[in-house]
């Protein structure tokens, strides 16, 4: 029943042997040892397992791994730069205390990444709408929303500096 499939994780091509019923999350965590995405509810309710597939956030705990075949998967581990620097969204979560126990954080950050890729300067309502599928059981939502808006500022500043340097 096992099948070998290929896809891209954080820019690197991978080849893994999988069972057809495995969700993507299982392969990321148990086969590829990328344990950033978390198993929370296992039913697509809590968002702790959020990763991007071809740029779109999905719940990897219920996403069939066979649908990832040939696609680009981005996990929280893929946000760190090649110089080992935190991504501005990660930095913003530290700056604004958007992290409490940390379990929901990778999912929050991946949802924030998808939002900011599409909408670089979101309103508070837009942030809340985009992160509505990510639960924080420490309930630190105010700081999380502030973190995402701070991340937007950092990213816009970076973009301006890069633009000015050209």
């Amino acid at each position: 029943m096992r099948r070998t499939i290929r896809f891209t994780v954080n820019g690197d091509p991978v080849e893994v042997e999988v069972q057809p019923h495995w969700p993507l999350l299982r392969v990321l965590r148990d086969e590829l040892e990328l344990t950033g995405a978390k198993m929370g509810c296992g039913e697509g309710e809590c968002g702790a397992c959020t990763v991007l597939v071809d740029g779109k956030p999905i719940n990897s705990c219920i996403y069939p791994v066979l649908e990832a075949e040939g696609k680009q998967v981005l996990t929280i581990e893929g946000l760190v730069s090649s110089e080992n620097e935190l991504h501005p969204i990660q930095q913003a979560f530290l700056d604004k205390a958007g992290v409490q126990c940390g379990f929901c954080t990778p999912g929050m950050i991946m949802s924030a990444k998808a939002l900011l890729d599409m909408n670089p300067n979101p309103t508070e309502d837009e942030v809340r709408h985009a992160l509505a599928g990510n639960f924080c059981r420490c309930t630190g939502y105010v700081q999380i929303v502030e973190s995402v808006r701070h991340a937007a500022e950092l990213l816009l500043k970076n973009a301006k500096q890069t633009g000015a340097g050209e």
């Binding site: 029943m1 069972q19 057809p20 019923h21 969700p23 296992g42 039913e43 697509g44 309710e45 968002g47 959020t50 779109k56 956030p57 999905i58 719940n59 219920i62 996403y63 069939p64 066979l66 649908e67 075949e69 949802s111 998808a114 709408h129 985009a130 509505a132 599928g133 990510n134 639960f135």
Partner: protein, 292 residues
């Protein structure tokens, strides 16, 4: 080992062949947000899972003489579609608060309808819009008004070997307002306590109701139309008082249950309130549409 074979057809023809070959042993899956959870909870144990994610003919939105939505179109695609945002606010109301962004990136309108939950958010809007389901099967293609599609909780009029390919929705007349109200305790990741969809088309005077549609979710074993309430409004000048009366009639037509999300009494009361409230939204939106 409890597993299944996961099949990825890349055309409708291939999907129909696979469904014909494996019959009752197979389950169709689109986004998998219902099916994967049902499988994990051991509610279903198919030997074959046939994925419709890679069938391009099933994923599209077009608006020419009518609106056509492929069954495997995700809710997120609909939420972001300029056609839906501009012309079909009733669908935008339904899809933008269904699950989460993550769920909407996987879950599809065809899956929402074919799973046939009484709480399916896209069902009341499709009923109000007089949508028609287009179905492909071993005997060829057939169509069915969505009002005839639901047969009970989790039961549809689909025969063995059939696949819903798309929904077609007639172009609404110019003076039309439409809205869906999802009554929930929280804004996201929740099923409706009640879903109320209203569509009101007005005559040239802008006041007389030429066509009324009132449809309800979680108000009966299947999503339903409140036809007596609709008939009451048609031909009348619709105002708050008329909508109040329509709400009372609709509540009388419904047969909600008492469940963990709400009691029968509460749901009947809220049908009354929400038909009026959603109807008033339709009047506002019809004005906006006429001036816009």
């Amino acid at each position: 080992m409890r597993s299944y074979e996961y099949l990825k057809p890349t055309s409708l023809k291939e999907a129909l062949e696979l469904l014909g070959r494996y019959g009752e042993k197979a389950k169709l899956v689109a986004g998998g947000t219902d099916l994967m959870v049902q499988w994990k909870k051991k509610i279903i144990s198919p030997e074959y899972v046939i994925s419709l994610r890679n069938v391009p003919e099933l994923s599209f939105v077009t608006y020419e003489s009518d609106l056509k939505i492929g069954s495997a179109t995700t809710h997120r695609t609909l939420e972001l579609s300029p056609i839906i945002r501009e012309h079909f606010p009733i669908l935008l109301d339904a899809v933008s608060n269904l699950g989460s962004v993550q769920v909407r990136n996987s879950a599809t309108i065809g899956g929402n309808i074919c799973n046939a939950a009484p709480s399916a958010d896209t069902a009341p809007p499709l009923l109000a819009l007089d949508a028609v389901a287009h179905i492909a099967g071993p005997q060829g293609e057939r169509t069915m008004p969505i009002a005839e599609f639901f047969k009970g909780p989790s039961r549809t009029a689909l025969a063995s070997g059939e696949i819903v390919t798309h929904f077609s929705i007639p172009r609404p007349s110019p003076n039309t307002g439409m809205a869906y109200w999802k009554h929930t305790r929280r804004k996201a990741m929740d099923l409706p306590i009640l879903g109320v969809a209203v569509l009101l088309s007005f005559g040239q005077d802008g006041k007389t109701c030429a066509k009324a549609r009132i449809s309800l979710g979680v108000a009966a074993p299947t999503p339903m139309r409140a036809r007596k309430a609709e008939a009451y409004l048609e031909g009348k000048e619709v105002d708050r008082g008329a909508l109040d009366e329509a709400g009372k009639i609709a509540a009388g037509e419904a047969s909600p249950r008492t469940t963990i999300r709400g009691s029968q009494w509460y749901r009947e009361e809220m049908i009354r309130v929400l038909v009026r409230r959603t109807g008033l939204m339709c009047i506002e939106r019809a004005k906006g549409a006429a001036h816009g």
